[in-house]
């Protein structure tokens, strides 16, 4: 009796270990394959592993005049400009949604939901057509505008949640003690909402850094961001360059995944969509 019970427990443990291992392979296997490609000098079918490892392609990617480094700076520059322009409009909007009396508040919230609920491709296609006519195609400005419109939605929602989670009685106390509205905002409201606002800035930054479809239509032929470079390398059959670029794009995403809970506290998360 005890023997069969122990047997059941062993079988149970074994099943758990096998399932976890399979899941680990499903998640890390593809990533491991990417890392192998990034360090492969030569890798021909049917060899299971690269015949030769090395850093030649890394040297090529990070060459001072290499196109990869140029794309990296283009991407980072675009992402920074996107964050600035997005927050400039998202912070006031988020504050208004959280704290002020708004006519048709539900409708306004729904407008900010729309870009999440509708496929973006038709939008990019037609923006590209208009931008082509007004000569914004292939310019940094054009790409930043497209990224900003896309990032705006998340930014407004997170900013609104961040302001909503600030205790209103603290603001009232400051006002009662004679602080002006502006002073109250800069010394009480803004500092308390800052972690949430930083989280929304990081979200927007990553969205812009990783954005492909919009840049593909609006950025061509002059703006080559990192995702575009990766796409071209991959379609051109250069798996090493594509994999190294992919790793550059992966690192910030994974770092953010591991840190996200530090920025987005539960009290802010609970306010999203309110």
């Amino acid at each position: 009796m005890t023997g069969s019970l122990a047997g059941v427990r062993w079988g149970d443990t074994l099943a758990r270990v096998v399932v976890i291992l399979l899941l680990a392979f499903a998640i890390f296997g593809p990533l491991a394959n990417l890392v192998l490609w990034a360090f492969a000098e030569r890798w021909y079918f049917p060899h299971k592993l690269p015949q030769e490892f090395g850093l030649t392609f890394w040297a090529r990617v990070f060459a001072p005049r290499g196109s990869a480094l140029a794309s990296l700076w283009t991407s980072v520059g675009i992402a920074c400009l996107t964050v600035l322009s997005t927050l400039a409009v998202a912070v006031p909007a988020g504050y208004a949604l959280a704290r002020l009396r708004l006519p048709a508040r539900t409708l306004i919230l729904l407008v900010f939901l729309l870009p999440q609920a509708v496929p973006n491709l038709p939008v990019y296609v037609n923006i590209a057509r208009v931008f082509y006519e007004i000569r914004l195609n292939g310019t940094i400005t054009g790409v930043v505008l497209v990224h900003a419109a896309h990032g705006l939605v998340l930014a407004v929602w997170i900013a609104s949640a961040a302001f909503a989670s600030v205790d209103a009685s603290l603001e009232e106390a400051a006002r009662n003690m004679g602080a002006s509205a502006w002073r109250c905002w800069t010394t009480v409201t803004l500092p308390l909402a800052l972690p949430g606002l930083i989280a929304s800035a990081i979200f927007v930054f990553l969205e812009s850094l990783d954005e492909f479809t919009g840049t593909y239509f609006v950025g061509v032929p002059d703006v080559t961001t990192l995702p575009l470079l990766m796409f071209n390398a991959s379609m051109g059959g250069n798996y090493q360059i594509a994999s190294i670029t992919a790793i550059l794009l992966l690192l910030p995403s994974i770092a953010f995944m591991l840190a996200v809970e530090r920025f987005l506290k539960a009290d802010v998360l609970a306010m999203i969509g309110r």
């Binding site: 002020l100 939901l113 609920a117 296609v125 992966l250 995944m257």
Partner: protein, 277 residues
Amino acid sequence: MRSRPWAGLALAAPALALVAIFFVGPLMMSAVLAFRGKDGGFTTEHFAKAFELYSTDLLFSAVIVVVSTAAIGAVAIAIAGYLTLGEHPRTQAILRWLYRWPLFIPFIVTAQVMRTFLAKNGMLNHVLIGGGLIDPLQAQSLLDWRGIVIAFVWKQAPFVTLLLAGAMAAIDRQHIEAARNLGAGRLRVLFGIVLPQSRRTLLVGLVLSFVTMLSVLSVPMMINPNSPTMLTVDIAYRINSHGDYAVANALCLMSLVLASFGAWFYLREAARKVERT
């Protein structure tokens, strides 16, 4: 609040304008251009042409997105269910750490990763051969519709799982304990108590994934660019090779119709949530 309504509107106006100009406007333009003939009059010829050339791809897109959504739902229910009802804290901790890795990995990187992993000489086949599960001659490339589905599930399942696990964690534990004490098995508790109470979150997550997958260009383009393929690839092809915005917009409208089934549900749920608060 003492503030006047126009103050709030003034603060929200720039953001609203940005969404109107760069989202709502182009969307309406798509609808107009899809029906406008060369002479400026109303026509359905673009749709006729789009159907004639791409009806297989329309079906292909619909099937892929539906299959992927179903698989994402199944994975999310399994993982979130175990995180909520499992009785083995260490396994749960490992699982919680493990499942989220692809959460913020962009689609284009997912596409590149799967392009190498699922190829005929990719790691998946080498591991299957090394493990004695298949013959070397049986190794085949999965870079067709299966590759697209795998890439979509790999990327989107963690997102839906995260939402669902959050919703499940918010359920009153007493309901679960009571059912367990009355002798209900864990599967029964999952499908009888936990899932019905977190159903709405699951559906919102699935709808968001459904809509997102419909407009992803990089994954089908890098994994399965040849016909039959997804509508997104056809749209890009019409524009880049023919400058044919009319048929491209007709195709766009078709994908919008597919998405609208999901979007309608999502907006309805969201509106209901807003009204409640």
